[in-house]
């Protein structure tokens, strides 16, 4: 069974801090995604990656960066956290080269609060 894990379930940081959110998948998936989920806004795509060292901006990349040095690991970085980045962050992964319709497997989420 596919497993997607995220480094923290619950995180509290201060404004201006650098924040790392890690995601690891164990199924050799090519594609990995970072989303944020906010009440009434659904899932919004921040960045995705379809191969090691490859990354593409999603719909809301501002204020975030990502790193994919190994196939199984995709990191989301908040260079200088701000209060409007308080949210639930979800990582997902999928197999196959066609991003559009392949099933995405989600991690449990990280609830980040920025004070």
């Amino acid at each position: 069974d596919v497993k997607v894990t995220q480094s923290s379930r619950y995180l509290v940081k201060r404004t201006g801090e650098k924040v790392f959110l890690e995601c690891v998948q164990d199924m050799d998936h090519e594609n990995m995604f970072w989303y944020r989920q906010d009440p009434g806004l659904g899932l919004r795509l921040i960045y995705f990656s379809y191969d090691v060292k490859m990354k593409e901006k999603g719909d809301i990349p501002e204020g975030y960066s990502v790193s994919r040095e190994k196939k199984e690991r995709f990191s989301l970085i908040l260079e200088s956290a701000s209060t409007n980045q308080t949210s639930m962050y979800l990582c997902a992964s999928s197999w196959d080269g066609t991003i559009s319709t392949d099933t995405q497997y989600f991690g449990p989420g990280t609830r980040l609060t920025v004070l």
């Binding site: 989920q37 899932l43 989600f106």
Partner: protein, 113 residues
Amino acid sequence: EDKVVQSPLSLVVHEGDTVTLNCSYEVTNFRSLLWYKQEKKAPTFLFMLTSSGIEKKSGRLSSILDKKELFSILNITATQTGDSAIYLCAVERAGGGADGLTFGKGTHLIIQP
């Protein structure tokens, strides 16, 4: 461990048919159940259900939650080829800093002309 099970895993129907997608769950401290449609990069939000027995409707799509039996259904009437997608169900839990989302594996719906 929280669990969300969707059925069927895949479904092929003809345009004009009505489909019912199922989602059952086991979760502690239930807050809400969400349905998404995934056809491009990111899933599109469809419905959020928090109360039992109240149907949410949007055009040809409707959904209802049964908190006693721990399941939800998503109905699509008069299906069109544009309804072809993966439909995801997710359950949100709350309380004590343990809130988060658990997703099902999705139902892959294909509508044939």
